[in-house]
Amino acid sequence: MKRTIIPIGPYHPLQEEAGFFQLQVEGEKVLDIDVDLGYNHRGIEKICEARTFDQIPFVVERICGICSTSHPLAYVQAVEEIARVQVPERALYIRTIIAELERLHSHLLWLGLAGHFIGYNTVFMWAWRYREPVLDIMEEMTGNRQNYAMMKIGGVRRDILEQDLPKIRKMAEDLRPVLDMFVGAVMDDPVIHARTKGVGVLTPEDARRYGAVGPTARASGLAIDVRKDDPYAAYDRLDWKVITGESGDVFAKAAVRLLEIAESIKIVLQCLDQMKPGEIDTKVKEIPPGEGIGRVEAPRGETFHYVRSDGSNRPVRHKVRAPSYVNVPTFKATCIGQTVSDATIILAAVDPCYSCTERMAVVDAGAGKRPVEQYDLVAVSQREGQKMLRSLAGKVAQTTLEKKLAEGYRRIGWKAC
């Protein structure tokens, strides 16, 4: 049969962002994928380098509207690591609450979109309907439905008012029966089973090779969750479980997300119970030279920020690695050999959003060349490359380089490294 190329996007109806997937198909079967994501590249990392530390949270929360708390949180944690700031207790709890509420709304949003992707608009509408109360609470607490502007180096920007606590509690408790309903409706529907079980399986090995994170990796059985592994905010004081799946298919990814909603509700309620009045901010004076890493478990997985400071009030480098950047490539591993109709739901299962990926990537669709062969070629060319490099750059050059670096670091007052 003839190969044709089916574009998904760049301007595709319900994929909110401009991802551009080109499926090479033979009949209905996907043979290869060409991914192209640059439509959203706004150069945020460079913009951040021209902003002061205090301005950056506002920029990074606009990396993406869905993770609009995870990014600032990861960023402030990175900066706090540089400045060695101890964040007040209450601020930690507030951070946790906001982050979990974000997870709630994000997972509900995903559920809706996934429903839409398989043409189940009722689920879409219902999920988004039940997402509204979460946004209402957010608006009440932070002043905005999205882009909450709550994170701040050294604490949080706003306190949660006493009178808001019962509202949050009620909202979280109201969500429980809703969740049960969704679990029942979605997890037991035979047609949904037919569409999602065994579809788009990501093996644990592939998940590791691609560095997948979040529900995408957890559905394949990798129990990685920054909240447990490298606890931040108040997560180490709370009682909750890391949800993992086994099969790595679309169904498992959906199940993991649904069950995580329940965990999030649990976390929020515990925070409300444990939270004590107190300071919410340490007024940071200066950011010394140095470098720091901030990691946050965003709804879609680990968000990673690396910040380097030179002692002025602007960072010299701010690297952002959002979850989708490592999750989207797994799409290639899971999708080839499946049908076009499945491609969308597999894609949806990763919950891809390219705002954060923020860059474009083109995976070669080189006609007929299967990825496996590509990597075989690599091995050869790599061996050659190494030989060349050895002969070109002798030890001498390397040592001078090292000296230069040491010199550079000495000047900005770092310990030699």
């Binding site: 002061t52 205090d54 940071v284 380097r308 030179d310 002025s312 009030n313 602007r314 010299v316 010199e407």
Partner: protein, 180 residues
């Protein structure tokens, strides 16, 4: 700051060249907006921070009840142990209230920018007979790169050595003279 500078000064060679800012000559013309080759920020204008530090060290009257400090809504200004004013860059929002409040007109608005730059005095970056780029940028030669005698006169008389690398000069002021 100044203290630390004094301590280490003895260990450095007397011949060492330092950046000298003559605030008497400086006309605040802002010509010295220069892309100085600071380690990271390529657009860094280290001169601003140099002038800020020089001003706070030698021109500021070290008021006992500093108006600038009390007016700052962000608690960004503080006096250190030596009475030298310091501005914390993470707190200052560049509103310039302090420059309005200062009765001596010490804090020129242009030396308290929101986005600060850093000057490392080009330490280690200069080869023999080179001068920092900021030096050439001043049309009035208020910025120089010179060897300065170890025994510069005391702060009250002529100028103040801020630290190892910087010398700031201004007309002397006396507390008594400042009385009505």
């Amino acid at each position: 700051m100044a203290k630390a500078g004094k301590k280490t000064a003895s260990s450095t060679t007397p011949q060492k060249k330092r950046l000298l800012v003559d605030l008497e000559v400086c006309a605040s013309c802002a010509e010295c907006v220069t892309r100085c080759d600071y380690f990271y920020h390529p657009e860094n204008n280290g001169m601003l921070s140099v002038r800020e530090r020089a001003t706070m060290s030698v021109v500021c009257r070290r008021c006992e009840n500093p108006l600038c400090v009390s007016v700052c809504t962000r608690d960004a200004l503080e006096k250190d142990a030596d009475g030298v004013l310091r501005r914390y860059t993470m707190r200052c929002v560049g509103c310039k209230s302090c420059s309005i409040a200062c009765p001596f007109g010490t804090l020129f608005p242009e030396i308290i920018p929101y986005a600060v730059s850093v000057c490392d005095y080009c330490a280690g970056r200069l080869r023999k007979d080179e001068v920092p780029v900021c030096v050439g940028s001043c049309p009035l030669h208020a910025v120089r790169f010179e060897e300065v005698d170890e025994d510069i006169p005391s702060p009250a008389e002529r100028g103040v050595r801020v630290d190892d690398h910087l010398v700031a000069h201004a007309l002397p002021w006396k507390k008594e003279g400042a009385k009505r």
